[in-house]
Amino acid sequence: MAIRDDVLVVGGGLAGMTAALAAAREGASVRVVTDSESTLQQASGLVDVLGYPTPHDDADDAGNRTPVANPFDAVDALPDDHPYRLVGVDALRGGLSVFDDATGDLYRGGHTERNALVPTVGGTVKPTARYPASVAPGLASDDRTTLLVGFDGDTDVDAPNVAAHLRAAGVPFDVGGVTVEFPGDLDGTDQQTRLAHALDTDEDGVRRRLAERVKRSPKRAGDDVFGEGGDADDGAAVDGFGDVDRVGFPAVLGRARPRQVRDALAERLDAAVFELPPAPPSLPGVRLRYRLRDALREAGVAVTTGNPVVDHDVEPTEGAGGDGAENPAPRITTIYADRNGTKTPYEPDAVVLATGGLVGGGIDSERDAVYEPVFDCPVAHPEDRYDWSDADAFGPHAFARFGVRIDADGRVLGADGAPLYANLTAAGGVVGGYDAAAEKSASGVSLATGYAAGRTAVAAASSSHPTPTDVTADR
C-alpha cells in the first residue's frame, strides 16, 4: 500500500524543513523523505540573507565589495531571475518567520532588519541575518575588547592569527588571540563532539580548568592589547586580563547544554563568552538541525531518513487534451524511495523538490552535461565545460548558478517556461539563478523559496481534494 500525504518534501536540509513547516502551518499533512546528511553539519550555523547583491560587478567600485546593511532594501539590485525577485520579499519575510518560530531562543537577529557582521574563523567579518545565540556576544559592531582563544592541536582556528587578521580588517574593537592546551586529550577523531561532551558534563572540572588556562595564558608578541606581563607558569592572571570584556572560543562549547557551558565560563572569566562560527564539521549546524527536527515533530511532520528518492510516476491531469497554453501540466502521482534495495511508493498530492545543489546532490554533472537527477528537470548550463567556471578562484562561476528554474510561486519550470508538473515546486540549493557563496544568500534563499514552495504545494494539493482549504487566508 502506498503512503499518502498532502505534501511530500524530497530532501531534509534547511530548505526542505522550511517548506515542510510552512506547509504544516497551513494545516496540510506533510512528510519529508530524505537521504542521509544535509549540508547543515557542514554549514557554519549562520543564516545569511544577502550581503553583496552585485558581487561580480566592476571590482574597482568598492560599493560592490562593501556589505549592505539592510538586505531587504538590497533585493531590488538583484537580477530579475534571482529567486528573491521571483518569490518576492514577502516570501523571504515569511521564511524568516518560520525559522524564528522554530528556533526560538537558539537564534538571534530577528530584533532588526539589519545585517550583523560576524567574525569568521578565516579572520574576516561576514554579513548575516540570523546567528546562533552562542555567537551573539561576538558581533563585530560591538566595541567591547575581545580575546580569542584557540586550542593547540585544533588546526582550524589559530586565535592569534584570526585576531591579527581582524585588526587588518579594521574592526572597531581591540582584539588579541591566545592558544591554550585544552585540559584533556585532544588527539583522535571527532574532536568537536568529544570536547563539547567534556564541557557538557564538566568532566574532571574541565570548565574551571579551561577558564584558568585562559586567564593565565601568555600573550603573543604583537598582541599588545592586554598590557605587559603574563606568564603561564606563575599562576597569576595575565596583566590586563581584567580589561577583556568578551572571550571567543572555537565552536565546541557544549552540544546538549551550550547555554550552561557558556554561562559557567563567563562567570569564571568575568566576561561575555561566544563561539566563532566554524569550518566543518559544525556543532552550531548540528544544534540547528536538532532544533528544526524538534520543530517538525511538534508540527506533526513525518520524517523518513536514509531513503533516497529514486523514481516516480507521472499522469497527465484528467481532462487534459486542450492545446497551446490551455494544456495543463501533468501531475506527479507516485514517488519511490529506495529502502535497502526495495522501492517504497508514496502517493502525495504535491511534491517539493529540496534536494540541495551541487553540494547536497540535488544537481549533478558529467563531462558534458549538468542535470537534476530525481525528476530530470531542465538545468541550463553552458555548452563548453570550460565555461562552467571562471579562471579566478572567486570569480563569477557559472556553476554557482546551476539549478532548476522556478516561477513566482516556486513551481518548477520546463524548458518552454511553463510549469513542468502541476504539483511540483522546488526550494533551496536545487534552485538556480543565484550565487549563494558570493552574495552571502545561501540560507536566506532556502527560507524564501522553502516558504513559497511549501505554501504552493498545499494549494496544489488542496486543488486535488474535494474540499479545498483556502491557503491565502491569514492564520
Binding site: A69, T112, A116, D142, T155
Partner: protein
C-alpha cells in the same frame, strides 16, 4: 679577477639541481639561481615515470640503454623518492603483433629485463586491466617523485657548500668583449660570458636573498644554462641561438590509485598511452603539441577527454573514476638545426650539450637542452665533466655512488614509525615522504594533529617544510603533498596558513594562503565535472560562505605586510580592501549584553518584528 662564484647554474629543475650537486661534491664553488621555487618548470609538471627504457626500446635504443642504467642508479641513491612499481606494455587485439615482438627484442638488446605475460597473468597483477588485453611485457618501470628528488639534490649541494637562490630570475647575461655581436653567425669572437643580472622576486621567506624587485649582478667564471624549455630565452640574452622546440603534454590525476603498476599501451607511438601510479593517485598521460611560449600556452579540454577516453581501453574503470585535476608541462625538446621534424613526437628525446665557445665563439657558457628526468644525473655528470675541463678542475663524480639525503637508512623508517606511535597509514606515508629524516621531524613534544586529511599530512611535517622552504605555501605543498588530495585544499588551505602564522606576520600568511588557493584552483578547474565539480562548489562555500574570503575587508594578496611593525595593521591590507561602516550594522540585542553603537540600536528597535510579513 675575482668573481662571485666559480660556476653559476641557471635553472632549478632536475638538470640544474643535478649539476649543482655534482659540481659541489667535486669541490667547485657553485651558485644556482631559479626564477620560481625548485621544480617550478617542467620538472614539477611531469609524469613521474622512472623509465626502464622500455618506451624507447624500439625507436631510440641509445636512450633506452641510458634509461635502464640510470633507473638502477636512482633506485639505489634515491630509494625514498622511488616506488618500484614495475611496468607493463599491454597489447590489445587490434595492436600490431610484430611490434610486440620488436619491443620484446629491443628490451633484450638494451639490457632491460623483460618478460612476456599472458592476458590472464597480467590481470592477476593488475585486476582492472581490460579483459581484451591478450598479452603484456613486464619491465622494471617505476614511479618517481620529482619534487623530493630535486629537493634532495639541492640539499646535498648545499651540504657541500653550494648556494641555492630561488625566486631569482635571470634578466640579462653579462658579456664582455667580442668582435662580432650579430646572432646567427657561426664563427667570430663573441666575447666572454662573465655572469648574469638577476631580479629578485617575492614569494618565499627563507629563500629570498634579496628584496623583491631588487636587481643584482652575479659574476661567475662559467655559466651553465639549464633552463630547459626557456633555454632559448637565455640564449637570446647572450646573443646566441638555442632553438628549443617546447611541446606541451597533459597529465590527468585520478582520485585513487586504480593501478599499482605502470601501464603502457604496446603500440608504436601516440598520445594518451600510459598510466603511472603515484602515491595515492594514478596519473594519466599524455599529449604532445608544439607551443611557442613555454610559460603561456592553451590548456585544452580535448586533451583531458582524449587521455581518459584512450586509456579507458586499457583500464575500463577509468571511465567511471573521479578525476581530481589536470596539469600540463612543456618538454624542452631540441633538435640540431639540420633535422627539421614536422611532428613533435618525432623529435628525439635525447639531450644535447651546446658549448657556445665551440659553436658560437662565445666563451664561458654552455647550454643543456632536451633529455629526460630519468637521466638527469647522467646529463649532470657529462656537463660537470665538461665544466671541470674548462675550469681546469680535477674532481671525480660521486653522484652515482653516494646516496641522496634522506635515503641513507631505509630500515630506520620502520623503527621511526613505531617510535612515534603513529597510526598507519600516516606513519607509513610520512616515513616515505621524509625518508631518514622522519625521526627528527616527527619528534614533537606537543600534539601533532593532521592538517591535510586527504593525504594524511601532520602539522609537524608542514612546520618542517616551512622551516625548509619559507613562507611559500606552494613550496610547502610540494614537499608534503598537503592540499593535493581529493578536496584540493578545500579543507586545509587555511590550516596550512595557520601553521605558517606561527612564524610569519599575518599579512605574509594571508598572502601565502591566497597564492595557495589560486594555485589549487588553476589545476582543479580542469577536472570540473561530477564529484569534483561538487567538490569545487563545496570549496567555494567553505572559503566564501563560511570565511567570506572573497569579500575580505582586509583584501587579498597583501604585499606590504612583511616589513611593517607589529600592530601596524593598516599597512597589511591588500587589493580589494574596503572600509566597512561597522556602526551601520546590528550590534546585538541589549538582552545579550551587547554595547550597541547608537546608530545600530536605532536601526534595531524600530523595525524589529520577528514575525515579518507572514
Amino acid at each position: 679577477m675575482s668573481r662571485d662564484t666559480e660556476v653559476l647554474v641557471l635553472g632549478g629543475g632536475s638538470t640544474g639541481a643535478g649539476v649543482a650537486r655534482d659540481l659541489a661534491r667535486r669541490g667547485v664553488d657553485v651558485t644556482l639561481v631559479e626564477q620560481g621555487n625548485l621544480t617550478h618548470g617542467t620538472t614539477g609538471r611531469m609524469h613521474g615515470l622512472l623509465h626502464s627504457g622500455g618506451r624507447y626500446a624500439v625507436s631510440d635504443q641509445a636512450s633506452a640503454s641510458e634509461c635502464i642504467e640510470e633507473n638502477r642508479v636512482l633506485r639505489d641513491i634515491a630509494s625514498h623518492c622511488v616506488e618500484e612499481t614495475g611496468g607493463l606494455f599491454a597489447k590489445r587485439p587490434e595492436d600490431d603483433e610484430s611490434y610486440f615482438e620488436e619491443k620484446l627484442q629491443g628490451c633484450r638488446e638494451c639490457g632491460i629485463p623483460a618478460e612476456v605475460l599472458t592476458g590472464r597473468e597480467a590481470r592477476e597483477l593488475e585486476p582492472y586491466l581490460s579483459e581484451d588485453v591478450d598479452k603484456a611485457i613486464s619491465v622494471p618501470d617505476g614511479a618517481i617523485d620529482p619534487f623530493r628528488l630535486v629537493v634532495a639534490n639541492a640539499v646535498d649541494a648545499e651540504n657541500h657548500g653550494a648556494r641555492i637562490e630561488t625566486h631569482t630570475e635571470v634578466v640579462d647575461v653579462l658579456v664582455e668583449g667580442g668582435a662580432d655581436s650579430s646572432a646567427g653567425a657561426s664563427d667570430g669572437d663573441r666575447g666572454d660570458v662573465v655572469g648574469v643580472t638577476v631580479e629578485h622576486h617575492a614569494g618565499s621567506g627563507n629563500r629570498v636573498h634579496g628584496a623583491p624587485g631588487e636587481r643584482e649582478d652575479i659574476t661567475a667564471e662559467y655559466v651553465v644554462n639549464a633552463t630547459g624549455a626557456w633555454a632559448g630565452q637565455i640564449g637570446d640574452m647572450a646573443g646566441v641561438d638555442v632553438a628549443v622546440r617546447p611541446s606541451k603534454g597533459v597529465m590527468t590525476v585520478m582520485n585513487v590509485r586504480q593501478v599499482d603498476t605502470v601501464v603502457n599501451r604496446c603500440r608504436p607511438k601516440g598520445d594518451a598511452d600510459i598510466v603511472v601510479p603515484h602515491e595515492t593517485t594514478a596519473i594519466l598521460g599524455t599529449t604532445d603539441e608544439e607551443v611557442s611560449d613555454p610559460a603561456d600556452y592553451p590548456e585544452e579540454g580535448w586533451e583531458v577527454d582524449l587521455v581518459i577516453d584512450q586509456l579507458t581501453e586499457l583500464v575500463p574503470i577509468l571511465a567511471e573514476a573521479r578525476t581530481i585535476r589536470s596539469f600540463w608541462g612543456v618538454r624542452p625538446l631540441y633538435e640540431p638545426p639540420d633535422v627539421g621534424s614536422q611532428d613533435p613526437t618525432d623529435i628525439t628525446r635525447d639531450y644535447f650539450l651546446l658549448d657556445h665557445e665551440e659553436r658560437d665563439g662565445l666563451r664561458g657558457m654552455s647550454s643543456i637542452v632536451g633529455g629526460k628526468f630519468t637521466t638527469y644525473r647522467m646529463m649532470a655528470e657529462e656537463i660537470s665533466d665538461h665544466v671541470c675541463d674548462q675550469l681546469g678542475v680535477r674532481g671525480r663524480c660521486t653522484t652515482a655512488e653516494e646516496a641522496l639525503p634522506g635515503s641513507e637508512h631505509p630500515a630506520r623508517l620502520d623503527a621511526a614509525m613505531d617510535d612515534f606511535g603513529l597510526r598507519s597509514p600516516i606513519a607509513r606515508r610520512s616515513g616515505q615522504r621524509l625518508g631518514s629524516r622522519a625521526e627528527d621531524v616527527l619528534d614533537t613534544s606537543g600534539p601533532n594533529p593532521v592538517v591535510c586529511e586527504c593525504e594524511a599530512v601532520t602539522r609537524a611535517e608542514v612546520s618542517d617544510a616551512i622551516t625548509q622552504s619559507g613562507s611559500d605555501l606552494n613550496a610547502v605543498r610540494i614537499r608534503t603533498r598537503a592540499s593535493m588530495g581529493n578536496c584540493q585544499g578545500g579543507m586545509c588551505c587555511h590550516r596550512m596558513a595557520n601553521v605558517l602564522s606561527a612564524d610569519y606576520p599575518e599579512a605574509t600568511t594571508r598572502g601565502a594562503w591566497d597564492e595557495l588557493v589560486d594555485e589549487r584552483w588553476k589545476g582543479h578547474r580542469h577536472a570540473l565535472w561530477g564529484e569534483q565539480l561538487s567538490q569545487a562548489a563545496l570549496n567555494t562555500f567553505l572559503h566564501a560562505t563560511t570565511m567570506n574570503r572573497d569579500h575580505d575587508p582586509a583584501g587579498r594578496h597583501p604585499t606590504g605586510g612583511n616589513g611593517s611593525a607589529p600592530g601596524d595593521d593598516a599597512a597589511d591590507t591588500g587589493p580589494g580592501a574596503v572600509d566597512v561602516d561597522f556602526a551601520a550594522f546590528d550590534a546585538g540585542a541589549a538582552t545579550d549584553g551587547g554595547r550597541p553603537t547608537d546608530e545600530a540600536s536605532r536601526g534595531g528597535g524600530a523595525d524589529g518584528s520577528r514575525n515579518g510579513g507572514a
